[in-house]
Amino acid sequence: MSATFGDFYDAVVEFSRLLRDAKVPVSMTELVDATMAIEAISPLDREQLRVALFATMVKSESHRKVFNTVFDVFFSRRSNFFDADEGRGDGVGDAVDQGGFGDQVDLDGLREMVVEALKGGDVEQLARLVRIAVARYAGIERGRSVSGVYYSYRTLKQLNLDAIYAALRPEDNAQMDVVAKVIANDKVEDLVSRLKDTLEDEIRRILVEDRGATAVVKTIKPTLPQDLDFISASRDEIEKIRHAIGPLASKLRARISGRARRAKRSQLDFRKTYRESLRYGGVPIEMHLRKRRPSKPEIFIIADISGSVASFARFALQLVYALSENFSKVRAFVFIDAIDEVTEFFSQSSTIEEAIRLINTEAKVVHLDGHTDYGHALEQFTARYLDDLTKKSTILILGDARNNYHASKAELMAEMRRRSRGLYFLNPEPANYWNSGDSIVREYQRYADRVVECRNLRQLELFVDSLT
């Protein structure tokens, strides 16, 4: 019954394919390492297997969530490898009888027992109870290709999450110190997320039993932070994206400052060469070159923050924030149908939330009706800031170029481009929607160095890489 190493090899190859489907790059070398790692450990220990595969196949923390999702499904407790360690009943049907209390327990009793198990940290008991809850309340329909989110929701609704929260919270005790209270409340969150994890684990187990691991992975479609769409990303997802922006901003800086060391060609530093030669009796053994002054680039970011690109705007501001920590000279502008400089807001505030709040309340970005007007924004920019542009300035415009049929004033952009070092337009819309409806990408395309589709971090990174 137990799996052989040969089975594991095949499994690991299949597993790597699923990871690649989710855009986690797994190279041939890494696959070989993974198989060697399996030989070194006892792969029947699921956590050992998880660490071994993660350490060899995945090289970035941002890939962990996707890795774990695929791993949990693929090597789920119901897959061929781990049925031996089960011994806790064979399926949904008889799980109910396993604990010996099956039918007697009603909903309230079950909830109480769940709370007890959570408080006591009894993992086994919790798993057993969750199994009963899922069997009773999830209403799982076999053969349907779903990701299981709804089953989880249905079960939690029946168990009544609010009641669980209430039961877990410590009684309001006046004598309790505020620190202790804070800690206790924080722990409640921790416990509830443990319950949710156990629940998802159980549902996954049933889904995999029903349809097989590969099929389930394909319905869940795990997505890397790099591939999350800016426009449709939820607030949580935006958070994830944010963590990945930092390294990208420093890369962008390196690209734009044109790498000081790029040219080996440089003038001879005669003084230094001669002085050093004295060490060797006047023989100039080492040649010293004049250090090239690193250029100090300026960045002008102009971001559309209208409703149609709201999530993207949030991302754009985060990028500005990350950049302003990296560049000495970043100037930020936001517009809807009027433009305003917001550089100050970033330097004033210590967190991005505060900056965004200031921008939302203080920045004067509405001129008439609050419908995006690129033309008017460009007009104002030219009138107020054109003289600040120099050959050191790089302009990044972030927006979807949907202009509500206003005049484009593209010729102003031409002037901005002429005065600066480069002008790039980053558009969060898929390229095949460009120029449809009120999108006027075409008009700006003529004057920008490039208009780049920038829907996710991966594309942004490609853009950054392409700058030289």
Binding site: V51, V179, T351
Partner: protein
């Protein structure tokens, strides 16, 4: 490899036990990865926020195996002369000078072959780590600080454990070093480098493990206070701060609390010592607001 050394690396449990013995509390994941690194003879790339014990891990491994720790601190502008080897020009020059004085016809041939030998080579950390008959632990610290191009310097040492010197030939490792690279993830490392390593992410420890670390590192700390501290720090890491408190900072905080004679966390004490834990005024304000 000596007998005692291989026994420390014989199994995951042995690694875990051993590291504990040298005052480093490994999680199961850390122990497993160290064990695998040794088995697969691959460097470990350790990534994670500052102050979570990345460098400490390398030191602990060197203590565990009683091996010399060779440390290469990376910085922008690091080059091969500082990382791998350098010719000792002055010594070479002296050698040439002394040959000049000896009036020997055949001296040129002698000198030519002579000055490019091991005697005139200055070992830098990477070369030092693979030379000598006793194996070492090589720590390449903060590898994300060098430019992408410079990373290439490490590749030969990391994958083949050898160094090629044009005038000299290839020096193969006399002994296999255990290699640990650390990165604060300020930029993506190149694929080539990542492919050669196995990966370990050292995030903030679980409450349990942090409590154990605290009790181990802070003498006189009660179990109960350690638990409270680890819980409170875990809570702080959950709220959105500019710089979340690291493990070393929570150790500092515990030391502070002990020296102030605290036996339990309470409002006033926490408020007045938060600056040990948090390094930005904005973060301190946020944490205090949560205590309202």
């Amino acid at each position: 490899m000596s007998i005692s050394e291989s026994s420390y690396l014989a199994s995951i449990d042995a690694v875990e036990e051993g590291l504990r013995g040298v005052d480093y509390l490994p999680s199961r994941e850390i122990a497993t990865t160290v064990f695998l690194a040794n088995r697969l003879a691959k460097p470990i790339l350790v990534e994670g926020p500052a102050g979570t014990g990345k460098t400490e891990l390398a030191k602990a491994i060197s203590r565990l195996l009683s091996r010399e720790l060779v440390r290469l601190q990376c910085y922008e502008g690091l080059d091969d002369a500082k990382a791998i080897y350098e010719w000792n020009y002055s010594k070479q020059l002296l050698r040439i000078q002394s040959a000049k004085n000896s009036d020997d016809d055949s001296s040129w041939n002698g000198v030519r072959g002579d000055i490019f030998t091991a005697e005139f080579l200055l070992e830098r950390p990477l070369l030092h780590a693979i030379s000598g008959s006793d194996p070492k632990v090589l720590l390449v610290d903060e590898v994300d600080r060098v430019e992408v191009e410079t990373e290439a310097l490490f590749l030969e040492v990391l994958s083949d454990f050898q160094v090629t010197i044009p005038e000299f030939g290839t020096i193969k490792a006399a002994s296999m070093p255990m290699v640990i690279l650390t990165s604060n993830n300020t930029r993506e490392l190149s694929e080539a480098l990542k492919r050669r390593c196995i990966f370990l992410y050292l995030g903030y420890p679980s409450r349990e493990r942090e409590k154990d670390i605290l009790t181990m590192k802070v003498p006189g700390l009660t179990e109960a206070l350690a638990k409270e501290i680890s819980d409170y720090v875990a809570f702080l890491r959950g709220i959105d701060l500019k710089k979340a408190p690291s493990v070393s900072e929570s150790i500092d905080w515990a030391l502070t609390l002990i020296s102030l004679g605290a036996s339990t966390l309470e409002n006033e004490m926490v408020r007045s010592t938060l600056n040990v834990l948090l390094k930005y005024q904005g973060d301190i304000d946020k944490a205090i607001a949560k205590l309202a």
